[in-house]
Amino acid sequence: MPQSAIVIDKKDNVATALRQLEEGRSVRVEIGDDAVEVTLLQTIPFGHKFALSDVEPGEPIVKYGEIMGLATKKILKGEHTHVHNVEGPKDRGDKE
């Protein structure tokens, strides 16, 4: 069965759409041996991300099991997660 979205690591809180996924659609996302159902709050273009759970402002966005950015506002499960609500981590790793 072709997948609709992919999660790379079990720690991830976002999935990436593998084709355009329409608003209101319920998507089953496989995470390792588990799976989660997500109802999309917006249309998600191919290659774009949506949240697998609610994320509070300032909390990390995790992809590849790593922090790829921080939420700049509250992000709801199923919401498009992109430059309008995510900013890059500011540190380079030497000031932790």
Binding site: I6, I8, M68, E87, R92
Partner: protein, 382 residues
């Protein structure tokens, strides 16, 4: 299964290489190779006019490449008055345990004489190489380079993570995985330094990434403001960290045991970073000069890249390019999207392919005769 060399290293191919140490010797080297079937020739624009650090850098790249375990013997062809003479490179290669013959044009009676003498030496090297037999060798003797190029949105989601799983498997078996492209590490330093095996590696990771940022700044660009670019954002990438995380994933998730310069041979086994540019052929050549016997190359848009002396296994990120470019691409990580493979099973498939190719199976790039070669330059030619 590989060819055990006298210095203890193991080659997965058994090439006799005809290598001009300077561009001026290119034609003679090429003619010798053309007239001696079984040899391969590489030509390049370097060998003279290198200043300071770049001279050392060029010597390291050329001797590293000619001394790769896949090369049974090398005939160095020089002019005579160049900076990087066959005598200079030959001595370094012999010290490293490589079988070397040399010829210098200015010491010969013209081109025809140089070609005739070169053919005799090549014949000798070919005969010796014929005597080498494949024998059992452990995966721990392998160094595999991982590189991505002509990437697409899916590269970071399928082909790179699957290649990373193969690298993790190799490292767990005691082998070495090496990846490069320092510009594509920017923004993901926090991840790399956390995986640094010691403080020295940590400092080196921060050093090479900040030097790369400085070089970009010197050209009037701030990579942290320029990246991800509008095309990346349209494609769904939100931060520079996300872009780099997708690129570094091809090396896997092991601890990083060493950071080496371009074309420098690692002294440690495990996951190694080589400082270097994102240029496909320059990166592949550099990792082979660092000792990689096999390279895994991921692509989304398709690229034919191969190497004259090392098999390059191509892994596509999507099924469409795999089906259109079947003559070029060995494995299809797009099968993950089609639901035919999991990331883990694809990673195992890539690992198994590495072992098969190391044991003698030809890659598509080898069948097609792709033999691209380019060395990173770090200074102006004078």
């Amino acid at each position: 299964m590989g060819y055990r060399r006298s210095n203890g290293s193991v080659g997965v191919r058994n090439h006799v290489l005809v290598f001009p140490t300077v561009i001026c010797a290119s034609a003679v080297a090429q003619v010798i190779s053309n007239e001696m079937p079984g040899t391969i020739c590489v030509t390049h624009q370097h060998g003279c006019g290198h200043l300071g650090d770049e001279k050392e850098h060029m010597i390291r790249a050329m001797t590293g490449f000619c001394g790769n375990p896949n090369v049974a013997g090398v005939l160095l062809v020089g002019l005579g008055c160049e900076m990087l003479t066959p005598a200079l490179l030959g001595e370094k290669l012999r010290d490293a345990g490589q079988r070397v013959e040399t010829i210098t044009m200015q010491a010969m009676e013209g081109t025809a004489d140089a070609v005739a003498k070169g053919k005799e030496l090549a014949e000798k090297l070919l005969k010796e190489a014929e005597g080498a037999q494949r024998e059992m060798a452990d995966a721990s003797e392998l160094m595999v380079g991982a590189k991505c190029g002509a990437s697409d949105t899916l590269s970071g989601l399928t082909a790179n993570p699957a290649t990373g799983i193969a690298c993790d498997l190799l490292v767990r078996k005691g082998g070495t995985a090496i990846f490069t492209e320092t510009p594509e590490m920017l923004g993901a330093q926090h991840v790399l330094v956390r995986r640094a095996a010691n403080d020295e590696v940590r400092e080196r990771i921060l050093g090479i990434t900040s030097e790369t940022e400085s070089r970009v700044k010197a050209m009037g660009l701030d990579i942290r403001e320029a990246e991800p670019g509008p095309g990346n954002i349209e494609g769904g990438l939100s931060t520079l960290a996300e872009k780099s995380l997708g690129a570094i994933r091809k090396g896997g998730t092991s601890d990083i045991v060493q950071v080496v310069d371009y074309a420098e041979r690692p002294s440690e086994k495990g996951l190694v970073i080589m400082d270097g540019p994102a240029h496909d052929v320059v990166g592949v050549t550099g990792m082979i000069a660092a000792g990689a016997q096999v390279v895994v190359f991921t692509t989304g848009l398709g690229t034919p890249v191969g190497s004259p002396i090392a098999p390059v296994i191509k892994v596509s990120s999507n099924s469409s390019i795999y089906h259109r470019w079947q003559d070029n691409i060995d494995l299809n990580a797009g099968a993950i999207l089609d639901g035919e493979e999991s990331l883990e099973s694809m990673g195992e498939r890539i690992f198994n392919e590495i072992i098969e190719v190391a044991s003698g199976r030809s890659t598509k790039a080898e069948v097609l005769g792709h033999c691209e070669f380019a060395i990173h330059t770090i200074g102006p030619t004078v």
